[in-house]
């Protein structure tokens, strides 16, 4: 009985309404309707249904999560059974309440008709008869609403039930479900990349069906993922213990083997991924290059640059003008001869931007750099410079790079070029970070006045940051131009700058592996979810918010940054351990 009093009905109502409104929004913006065509598990579950009912399941899960936290705080083991029942009851209510907004939509959709003068679809184009049919399971408004409420309620209870399961059952279950969902989402890409011939075709026949997973495939993937989860959970400690028990010599050898495997994987990647996915990886690579550059400017030196695309554009246009065999290219250089000029051009641009903004700080710098990026784009688009760089038509017929007569024609061969550039950029960033210059940048980031007072030449240090960052972007732009064989002003909008900034922060600002992780996450994932078309940016935006809320330090934070963010916790724990003196250290 004690649990019942602890039960927070306000929370149940809030959660139910929230989830209902989420489901309603997904209906109204058309995601549910559009993706009802898209199978996750062929013939059984569509993506639309997952979007429609997912919030109810999540509602139950979240409710169970928060009550179980309450319970563990209360530590009243005797009340556990009542707790389970009342949690399930609460989940039932959450499910019922979450169906209310949808039922309201059903009735509004029924009442308003094209003939009646007021028609809901006039305002909200996505409230189509098909959507209403889906919501009511084709059973008419009254019976349909009842069924809908029943389904959301039971799904919400299922969600709560999943949370109530013991950890060793729940974890594999969730892993399996996630794997099925991911495979279902990626189905089209996987089929596109591998499913055309050989073993790929065979696997495709077994796993996939009608653009989604087949029942057999679903079962297989679920079992594999769940099994892997169980295996990992039970074996991890044993393996770790055995590895740490090895003599140092063999540990070193193990490390070396790991590195060798990683290198081998990187070298073989284009053969594994085939053409389409290699193209995606190449795009990621170009963003990684830019990410390393911006990481120096923003991550190391703390200069917020929102117009980073400008240097990318300058690199690309320089490459185009110097190498194009079309009417705009005069010089007719080769890729390699033009590359230094691209770098020089973008470095010069970096310094030119750098000088007037030397005295600006923080957000003044942000908007000026943003303006600089826009200026470059509009100039590229303008009639004024059209005789030189082609205006909206851009520069065409840019040759691909070649080495000893071998031309980098395919995405696979370009991959190696980009890989080498990325490795060089990573190496340069890594060495710079720990060099005198890197330390100067970081000192400047922390406090300009103090840095100046300690004898750091601010002008030189800032300009070097801009110049180095610009060089990386210029390199990326040069490769971009010859990769596409053409440059257009449209490729250089603000979105590129924003993407690069987001990827370094999502990866973990100032962290080099973070750049790679962030680029894979923010550039690769949207590429793979291409079929979401118009909803991609919606999801991108939501993802950015969720990521920052859950992990403000980024996916792979740098050691320094992590320490700063968790300085308080460290200080308290260290303070408890040593009795105080650590506090001042963490503060500094």
């Amino acid at each position: 009985m004690e649990m019942r009093t602890r039960f927070d009905w306000g929370q149940v109502v809030r959660l139910g309404l929230l989830m209902g409104i989420v489901a309603l929004s997904l209906c109204l913006i058309g995601m549910v309707g559009t993706f009802d065509e898209r199978n996750i598990i062929g013939g059984v579950i569509t993506l639309g249904q997952i979007l429609l009912f997912g919030p109810a399941v999540a509602g139950g899960y979240v409710l169970a999560q928060s009550t179980s936290r309450l319970r563990s705080e209360a530590e009243t083991s005797s009340a556990e059974s009542t707790g389970t029942v009342s949690t399930l009851l609460g989940a039932l209510m959450v499910g019922l309440i979450s169906s209310l907004p949808l039922i309201l939509l059903i009735f509004l959709g029924q009442i308003t008709t094209p003939e009646g003068g007021v028609w809901l679809r006039q305002f909200l184009p996505n409230v189509s008869p098909e959507l209403l049919e889906m919501l009511t399971f084709g059973q008419g408004p009254v019976l349909g609403s009842l069924i809908l409420a029943g389904v959301t309620a039971s799904l919400s209870m299922l969600g709560a039930g999943a949370n109530l399961l013991p950890q060793r059952v729940r974890s594999p279950l969730l892993t399996g479900l996630m794997a099925v969902l991911m495979m279902g989402l990626m189905a089209e890409i996987i089929i596109l990349a591998w499913g055309s011939k050989g073993i790929g075709l065979l696997i495709r026949r077994v796993l996939f069906e009608a653009g989604g997973l087949s029942l057999v495939g679903t079962a297989l993937i679920f079992l594999i993922a769940a099994g892997a989860n169980v295996g990992w959970a039970t074996q991890r400690e044993r393996v770790q213990r055995r590895v740490s028990a090895l003599p140092p010599k063999r540990q070193k050898r193990l490390d070396r083997t790991r590195v060798a495997l990683g290198v081998l994987l990187m070298l073989l990647l284009p053969f594994i991924l085939r053409t389409y996915l290699t193209e995606v990886v190449n795009n990621i690579g170009l963003y990684i290059l830019m990410g390393f550059g911006l990481n120096i400017v923003v991550g190391f030196a703390g200069l917020l640059d929102l117009g980073y695309v400008a240097f990318f554009a300058i690199g690309a246009y320089t490459m185009g003008m110097l190498t194009s065999t079309g009417e705009l290219g005069g010089a007719g250089m080769s890729f390699w001869a033009a590359l230094p000029f691209c770098l020089i051009a973008s470095v010069v641009a970096g310094v030119i931007l750098g000088v007037p903004v030397l005295r600006m700080r923080g957000d003044y710098l942000a908007i000026v750099t943003l303006g600089f990026g826009e200026i470059i784009r509009i100039l590229a688009l303008s009639d004024w410079l059209k005789p030189f760089i082609g205006g909206a038509q851009g520069i065409l017929m840019i040759p691909k790079p070649s080495i000893f007569g071998l031309r980098f024609l395919t995405p696979q061969s370009l991959y190696y070029l980009i890989l080498i550039c990325c490795l060089v950029a990573a190496f340069v960033s890594w060495r710079l970070r720990d060099a005198r210059l890197g330390r100067q940048w970081m000192a400047m980031r922390e406090d300009e006045d103090v840095a100046e007072a300690s004898g750091i030449p601010l002008v030189k240090t800032k300009l070097l940051a801009f110049a180095t960052g610009a060089a990386f972007a210029g390199l990326s732009g040069a490769i971009f131009a010859s990769k596409l064989s053409s440059v257009f002003p449209h490729s250089f909008n603000l979105l590129v700058s924003i993407n690069v900034l987001c990827l370094i922060i999502v990866g973990g600002i100032g962290s080099l592996p973070g750049v790679v992780v962030g680029a894979i996450f923010l550039i690769g994932l949207p590429e793979l979810l291409r079929e979401f078309a118009e909803y991609r940016y919606l999801m991108y935006g939501a993802l950015l918010i969720v990521m920052m809320l859950l992990r403000p330090e980024g996916l792979w934070p740098s050691a320094v940054h992590k320490r700063e963010l968790h300085a308080d916790e460290l200080a308290t724990s260290a303070g408890q351990a040593t009795g105080g003196p650590a506090l001042s250290e963490a503060d500094s």
Binding site: E374, W384, G541, P552
Partner: protein, 353 residues
């Protein structure tokens, strides 16, 4: 020490050179345009009036940026979307259905007030939701983190409303009474421009009184000055921040109606460019400063309208109007070179941005 002095000297020399080159270029452009005399005085006046109307919009939107920045030191990238969401919703649900009835033109002031009120309410709603979900939990995170959630919120709302009302351009119904123009001597002003400028003046005065004369406004200024001390004085900081967002979004919602009146169209990306321009205006005026934002908006609108014709054409650049945005940003850079803290901003040395 000598090394450092030398560095600063070189920088100062470069800066002065920059300034000199700019002044020469601007003067050259103006003089040669005036000598060429390509436009009639009426055309210039038209340009200036159009610029003031455009600038009023920027000013109204810029207020939202500046108010939020003044308190939270964050660039609220989603502010342009607050502007869009209100008028988009209000157009679809209020303006278009109402324009089918005779009431729309008979009582056009009432109708527009209703449309504006709904737009403001929706903008405020969207802003408060964004603040609650995406900004408040990150109030003490490093400064770039809320910037990223703001960018995320901006994308989210753009494509949310695109999904909701469709991706096409929706026409805002015309208001008969605002057709045609007002003629005072040589001055010819479109009625829509009159409406835009007049409403902006009313709104700006209202906001100024709110910030300077009311108790809530005083609390806002106190929180902007120092959050901790304000909290110690018994001010509910969370509530003040919410009010700040609401006031900024209400101004953006009103600006949305004025935009719709001027351009007669609404669409999901309409907040993007005005948002960036308004942010530029806020920085131009000195970010964090309310009067500066209004002034910056007006100046930006005017320079944008007059500048390309006045200066760039004189320099012999073809199709100068294409470079309107280039000019706007160049002007920002120039103003900041002369005054790094913006027109009305306080010295950055005293308060760290």
């Amino acid at each position: 020490m000598r090394q450092r002095l030398q560095n600063i000297d070189i920088l100062d020399v470069i800066m002065w050179l920059f300034r000199a080159v700019i002044i020469v270029a601007v003067v050259w452009g103006i003089v040669s345009t005036i000598l060429d005399n390509p436009y009639t005085p009426e055309a210039w006046i038209d340009l200036v009036v159009a610029g003031v109307a455009q600038g009023s919009l920027y000013a109204l939107i810029a207020l939202g940026y500046t108010l939020v920045y003044g308190i939270l030191f964050m660039i609220n990238f989603a502010h342009g979307e607050f502007f869009m969401s209100g008028i988009f919703t209000s157009t679809v649900f209020i303006a278009i259905p109402m324009s089918r009835t005779p009431f729309w033109n008979q009582h056009w002031i009432l109708s527009l007030l209703l449309v504006g009120a709904v737009a403001m309410a929706v903008s405020v709603g969207v802003a408060l939701l964004t603040e609650r979900i995406a900004y408040r939990p990150l109030r003490y995170a490093p400064r770039l983190v809320p910037l990223i959630t703001a960018i995320g919120a901006s994308f989210f709302w753009q494509y949310f409303f695109r999904g909701l009302y469709g991706s096409g351009i929706t026409a805002f119904p015309t208001v008969e009474a605002l057709q045609g123009s007002l003629t005072i001597g040589p001055l010819r002003i479109l009625w829509t421009q009159v409406a835009v400028i007049a409403s902006t003046i009313v709104l700006l005065i209202g906001l100024y009184i709110f910030v300077m004369r009311t108790k809530t406004g005083k609390a806002m200024r106190a929180v902007a000055e120092d959050k901790q001390v304000a909290a110690l004085m018994g001010i509910d900081v969370d509530r003040v921040i919410v009010i700040t967002f609401a006031v900024g979004a209400a101004m953006a919602g009103a600006a949305g109606l004025l935009y719709a009146l001027m351009y007669r169209q609404v669409f999901f990306l309409m907040g993007f460019i005005p948002g960036i321009k308004a942010f530029t205006a806020a920085v131009l005026g000195g970010i964090g400063n309310v009067v500066g934002a209004a002034l910056g908006g007006l100046l930006l609108g005017m320079f944008e309208a007059v500048g390309p014709n006045l200066i760039l054409e004189g320099l012999g650049i073809p199709a100068a109007n294409q470079l309107k945005d280039v000019f706007a940003f160049l002007m920002l850079v120039l103003v900041l070179i002369f005054r790094p803290q913006g027109i009305m901003g306080e010295r950055l040395g005293d308060k760290k941005a």
